[in-house]
Amino acid sequence: MSDLASRLAALRKQAGGRSPASVGADSSANQPGLSPNKVGPAPPESPMNRLLQKPGVDLAALRRMAGVRERLGQPRMPPRTFSRDVPGEEIAPGLRYLEQRYAWPDAPSELDLTFARLTSARREHVLHFDTETTGLAGGTGTRAFMIGAADWHDGGLRVRQLYITTMAAESAMLRSFADWIDADTVLVSYNGKSYDAPLLATRYRLARMTNPLTGLTHVDLLHPVRRRYRQVWENCKMQTAERNLLRIVREDDLPGSEAPRAWLTYLRGGSSGDLVRVAAHNLQDVRSLSGLLVEAHGWAALDARHAQEGSLHGNEK
């Protein structure tokens, strides 16, 4: 702090020595309503000019003034012992990688996408993805610190996750994720068209990298689910769909809204406990995406059968 104070003192000294941003340098009296009876520029040594002075920066004063407006400063948590262990393998400085595989021998090889007003997609082209971010505020100040993706690979479902433990590793994460995508990739997400994809577009732009998601087919399951179940369920959140369609009920799940705090805590030198739970949450999200996709894939056939049965009933009447 004393270092800062001395820097500020130096700054103030430096600032005091310089004339203000060239404004009003030739002012005579700068009376709000009226100027005085003298016309023309006053001599440069007028007392008004000596008054013009750049404000100095006094850190204590700055904090106090900011405090009047914001009353900053929450009490700090007392230090205690905690774990800093993080799962996965560090594949670049600050970038960690996790991979899990789940057997799924009978996944359909061609997925019917008529539910999303599309034709179909080959199983090997599908990539389910979901990000965990530092918040919901939007704009250039929100970033993804974790990206999870699931695809069908080697006869099973493969879930790969990237997350960063330093901010500097963001570029490496974006580059790795881009490597998982090619021109044939069909993206699958839940609300990703409005949230994850634009957010990643911003991050790629800020990192001066080409956005790999541009131009790809993107199946956002939120909209078809909402069309089909809006009248049926209390809401169409992902976990509602997961519970009703896949019969999955999460235990000890860290709510998504807690993710920013969990990551920040770790970033600022705190416990990794909740960050581990974020990874588990994200893992479940992308696994469920694949389940929901297969479920939705079946809707067209199911509806056709119902229609047929309906018309059979009609014939019997």
């Binding site: 309503g33 008054l51 732009r205």
Partner: protein, 805 residues
Amino acid sequence: MAAYLTSRLTDEADSALATNHDGSTLARRLSDKYSDRVATAFTVFGREGQFVPLPDNLPAGLSKALTAHGIERLYSHQQEAWEAARSGSHVLVSTPTASGKTLCYTLPVIASVLEAGAKALYLFPTKALAQDQVAELLELNRAGDLGVKAFTFDGDTPGDARQAIRLHGDVVVSNPDMLHQAILPHHTKWAQFFENLRYVVIDEIHTYRGVFGSHLANVLRRLKRICAFYGVKPQFILCSATIGNATEHAQALIEDEVATITRSGAPSGDKHILLWNPPVINPDLGLRASARSQTNLIARVAIKAKMKTLVFAQSRLMVEVLTKYLKDVFDHDTRLPARIRAYRGGYLPTERREVERAMRAGNVDGIVSTSALELGVDIGSLDAVVLNGYPGSIAATWQRFGRAGRRQQPSLGVLVATSAPLDQYLMRHPAFLTEATPEQARIQPDQPLILLDHIRCAAFELPFVAGDAFGPDDAGPYLQVLAEAEVLHQEGERWEWIADSYPANAVSLRSVADGNFVVVDRTEGRQTIIAEVDYSAAALTLYEGAIHMIQSVPYQVEKLDWDGRKAYCTRTRVDYYTDAIDYTKLKELECFDGSKAGEGSARHGEVHVVRRVSGYKKIRYYTHENIGYGPVNLPDQELHSTAVWWQLPQTVLDEAFRSRQHALDGFLGAAYALHTAAVVAVMAEPRDLQKAVGSGDGGWSAQVDAAGRGQIRAQDGGLALADALERFLPTVYLYDNFPGGVGLSEPLFRRAPELVTHALATIEGCECKAGCPACVGPVLAADENREETPRALAARVLRLLGAAA
């Protein structure tokens, strides 16, 4: 009714004057007939137009469009601007009102769109001006089939249109607030726009003064930072009305050199200016007729002389009252289209657009406006301008007069003085208006709290790297404060945004509170929104019982839903209007720091400013007699802010002054002088930093009354006498007129001894006798021979506060 008939009779008497006239003959006739009222008459001579052919290097399509649009040659300053812009300079155009400034930037912008597919960003201080601009661009576009896409981008732009504007807009017309809150924090969505951004046009830069201007300068720093990220360095083209330091102000805003163009090539006619003092109607009391009656008379005569006339009033209420009086004369046949219209803030945008259109089309003979028409809203040309009261600044006075004058025809401008000391002073000393240079615009973008706000926003937009400057200074200390507040995270050399918040939403560029009130007409079961009133004006105009006028049609407010921001009213027919009674008082909440100041003390701390509307008066039309009061029961308008204040102990005052009234007058004069010095010291606008005189314990507040004397208001709002107070502890406050403060008063406290000394030097060096607007505030003629002048009293207070002579 009798009064109305009298006014009709006066009118007959005036009819001798009222055949067709131009500004010159009417000015002469008025001066002859009312020589006792014309304090000064003078003429601002017009000039010949200087025309040049369209430049050869204009793109062919643009030349064709201009010709098709009826523009076959340029004024010389338009050509100068074209050349300066083409040479790559930042350009400032500071020519008089209505000299064709728009074309100065339209030409280079459209040329770059046509030639290089470049983009341009326009910033206007109001939405209305932005819409005018787009309409004009589209007309030129149509005339030449140019294919240039121009859009407004403001708070009203629907979400689905925004995407198209970002991708396809060649010219995006917006305002500083949108740039700050919607464009910069989402710059990646605007990537294509920024990558091709060639010009940034900022019009009406004289409006960006004080804190607002300091904010804009910082928004421009952020804009330049984003532009650098996308590898562009746009050129700025700035326009200003006449102010004392347009070039310096432009350079302070963009922090770069500008090429200034001030010589207008547009032709103009002679302007005949009259300074008009209402006649004395009661010589014993020295009472003059009201400014309102005189403004009404002059406007009536001018309109009868078939001159298109614009009346400027100082308040929205006065706009409505004057509109009514003129309508009573000119619009009594309601079947005909209105000849008289009102224009002011608080009308619905559609209403304002409609009035503008009617004015441009020449269908309106008289318009009554607030300062809303000071800016470049296009209403066509006018023959006469009447100012009901001095607008408060030389620059604004000339800007308003500048509204009159078609081409070469002579025009008339009349400034009608009110009884306010400042107006009366002007009548006695017209050189204050005629010989002094207009006010200077001042900004202080490096003011720490403002800087902190914008570094916060900038860090959200792009990370800072150690050693990065923001403006001229190293951003380091600010980044550290922000990291301590846990909105930034430092990692190695980089400071990155980390909080889940959108900082631009918490930083307002203007000192206006959000939350407009809508006024709903419930007459006969209707539910129509007839007006929108901003928060700050609501308490003064929408209390229950208020007569709220729109185009002088009276509605009575029946119910005010304060939390829901709605006022319900019905159409009414009453012969009175209402005027709110309000007062302001100030109370210390916490003292941060204090020091001795001569025999007294100077302090700095947090204060609570309360503005209360305690009731309203009913005032009958024409006679202006007070026919009753009504109570108002509204929440206080509260402001928590920071302030610096000075006090002297009662014993010192008792010894130094003959009476408490003398001491109080001294404090009011000292407050005026300190405020003047402080405004210069921190480069603030007078409105950003307010002054107040009151009791140190918040018990009473004091103001200068119409007779030029200090007047004390007790806690309950009633008048009190200084001698009757139990404790007498007058205090001068200077406080930031922004919620939470903006950091103006803190440096004032640090420099308190210097300020007091400077204020005294100003008073002692002043050439006036008893006091004037340059030192302790205007004084009335009667006070010039007072035994103890306001000037001497104020100087005594400042000496007691430690001012070194």
